[in-house]
């Protein structure tokens, strides 16, 4: 098994099979093996069952929530504009944000890389004398692999989001950015709980999903009360007030950030927005796009540490503010990606994600947003397959709450891949051949006419070809529909004559 260490960004992740076996290895980005990952995913009956169950629910709930709010489309434009304004002044808003955190008694740790962020978190935990750390759901914590780092230094991190909790028990990684256990079935939950919660009656009955939830609630309650430090992510940072915002349905994030003596919020630099009003407009989009709720159950704004007369709340409040490659996206053709509010609507609506699930993408962020973000953060040399794993149906862009042109950005990555000669030579020579014809319309039409004729001849009346000489690789995964009539140009000419 190859161990990869990523240039520049300094990731340390176990991924895929190495992790499942509990092998302590350094980074494993399996994005280069996307094709093999996808083939394995398609053949995984359990995964396909889970995907089949989950897919429809998200789409329907989002559609219903959008239908209940006539202003939803107008809010998408507003969301895009708020994020664009912030990104164009990101340095100024970050400075204001950090000054306001400090004014409220918090500390901001600026971190350029994942390594710096891991070191900052560990330092805070060690100074607090921490033995256990509870964690709310945070994708950036996956990105910087902070759990492994804490464990390696004798501190036990405990994931408290229900989905993240079982993922940690299984020593896997989330397969979805808001539903980490998207790939699991109820039977998996029951089996893992019996395997891990060995102090409970082995003959207990899980009659309903609720029984699984109740057992997790009881188990995690002990952890919440014992933790020395609580680590959460942040959906937004607010420059005006110096607040970090988390959005949850379970309440685990609030227990995590309220009960321990120290609260650490992990956030990447593009999470900042100017004001409470800006955050509010984006919050109107977030839950509807994500889970199809009008609003999540708990939307919580944290500003600094416990105030003098307060009866509860953490005594220390830290923000670990992480760049990890994002500042390089500013001013590039990928800047639009920094508008992302991590709602997961793009992956919920993606036919490729729906077929393979999230693990096949091989790194932290799956689906269309991952196909754009992963090459930006880990390098197109490792992640070139991802922007190619798209049917370009455009559904992702049409549901994105901040209107990120995801297909266009994936096309930019394909261009970069081509420029950097990462595209296989067969593809390159075929593209060159196509370009030669495309520049000569007469030749192009003659060639396409010949090709249509040849295909019809080979097809002998069938509607689609299961295999094609010289294109076995292409037809291995799909059938080629046979052209029904002549070329577009010949039909167009005929129609014009008929007028």
């Amino acid at each position: 098994m190859k161990v990869r260490r990523c240039r520049g960004a300094g990731f340390a992740l176990h991924w895929g099979p190495a992790f499942r076996l509990g092998v302590a290895a350094l980074v494993q980005i399996t994005s280069p093996a996307f094709k093999q990952n996808a083939a394995r995913a398609l053949a995984d009956a359990g995964l396909q069952k889970a995907l089949g169950k989950a897919k429809g629910a998200f789409l329907q709930r989002r559609a219903e929530a959008v239908a209940r709010l006539p202003e939803f489309e107008a809010l998408r434009d507003i969301g895009r504009d708020i994020k664009n304004h912030t990104l164009a002044n990101l340095d100024a808003y970050l400075e204001t944000y950090a000054a306001n955190v400090e004014r409220a008694g918090g500390t901001v740790h600026w971190c350029s890389t994942a390594e710096e962020a891991r070191a900052a978190v560990l330092g805070i935990c060690q100074r607090a004398g921490a033995r256990t750390v509870t964690k709310g759901k945070s994708m950036i914590s996956e990105e910087i692999a902070v759990n492994d780092h804490l464990e390696a230094h004798g501190i036990t991190p405990v994931e408290t989001d229900l989905g993240e909790y079982i993922i940690q028990l299984r020593r896997e990684h989330p397969s979805h950015i808001i539903a980490p256990a998207f790939h699991l079935n109820r039977e998996d939950w029951e089996a893992d709980f019996r395997r891990m919660h060995t102090d409970l009656d082995p003959n207990r009955v899980f009659a309903e999903r609720r029984d699984i939830l109740t057992e997790a609630r009881t188990k995690l309650r002990e952890r919440f009360l014992a933790a020395d430090v609580g680590i959460t992510g942040a959906n937004f940072l607010i420059a005006e007030t110096g607040s970090s915002v988390i959005v949850t349905n379970e309440g685990n994030g609030d227990l995590t950030q309220t009960l321990p003596r120290v609260h650490i919020a992990l956030a990447s630099i593009e999470k900042v927005v100017p004001t409470l009003e800006d955050a509010t407009s984006l919050l109107r989009l977030l839950a509807r796009s994500a889970t199809g709720q009008d609003f999540s159950v708990y939307t919580t704004f944290s500003t600094g540490a416990r105030r003098p007369a307060d009866l509860d709340g953490p005594e220390e409040y830290h923000v670990v503010l992480i760049d990890n490659g994002r500042s390089n996206m500013i001013g590039s053709e990928f800047q639009d990606m920094l508008r992302c509010i991590r709602c997961a609507a793009c992956m919920n609506h993606c036919p490729v994600y729906g077929a393979t699930g999230g693990h096949a993408y091989g790194w932290v962020y799956p689906g269309p947003m991952g196909s754009v973000l992963t090459p930006s953060l880990v390098g197109v040399d490792k992640a070139a397959h991802l922007p190619n794993a798209s049917t370009f149906c455009g559904k992702c862009e049409s549901v994105c709450p901040v209107k990120i042109p995801l297909p266009k950005l994936m096309r930019h990555w394909r261009e970069r891949e081509f420029e950097r000669h990462l595209t296989p030579s067969a593809v390159r020579s075929n593209l060159a051949l196509w370009a030669w014809f495309a520049k000569r319309p007469g030749m192009y039409r003659a060639a396409t006419r010949a090709a249509v004729g040849a295909l019809r001849l080979i097809a002998r009346g069938r509607g689609a070809l299961r295999s094609l000489p010289l294109a076995g690789g292409w037809t291995e995964g799909r059938d080629l529909p046979v052209p029904e009539g002549g070329t577009f140009m010949s039909r167009y000419a005929k129609q014009q004559r008929g007028r």
């Binding site: 409220a104 229900l162 005006e240 609030d254 009008d294």
Partner: protein
Amino acid sequence: MSKDAILGAIRRGLKRGPLPADQRAMIDGRLASHPRHLIPARSRLPRPEQVALFVANVGKEFGTVARVADADAVPTAIAAYLAQQNLAPRFVLAPHPDLAALPWASAPMLEFEARRAQPDDLVAVQHGYAAIAETGTLMLPSGPERPTTLNILAETEIVVLRASRIVGAYEEAWDLLRDGRTGGFMPRNVMLVTGPSRSADIEQTLELGAHGPRRLHVILIDDDPAALPAP
């Protein structure tokens, strides 16, 4: 230092140095005036309908509401709810002066302590600062009189709310909190709570009662004559 490196990289991407003074002034102006964006029409209603929308939305999110005519009726409403749910008449109470002033003698079976919540508290009675009709959301800012632990530790949360504190949209609730001040007005913690705790992590199917309260009950004091339902 990483701060300089990050800000420097952003400025290189934006092809400029630190913002010139006039543009910085524009940013500071936007922060100070915090302009509102589009507010959905659904909460732009006459007062009685606005309160009714709040009540309907709490119900839609699996919470419950009991409307009482005045603050004096709150203790008996709490007792009635606990009895109806088969819960012992015992709770932790937010140490808020409005709650301390309620006529507790009218429901002598109730036992309570005014303090932060502890892990073995089964019921918490919280003071509702404000509420947002748009989505049936309670606004619960932290402070000595409204500890955050009351929102999350107990299995049953009861929130005592005055109808006069129900607004249409979130933006109006932020303005209540700002109350004319700019900067430094945010309490340590502001929770916006919409229904009881839940999770859909098991097969994307909704189950109530994840880590926070399984039940959320609002006792709504009809203190606003303009907001009463039509007779």
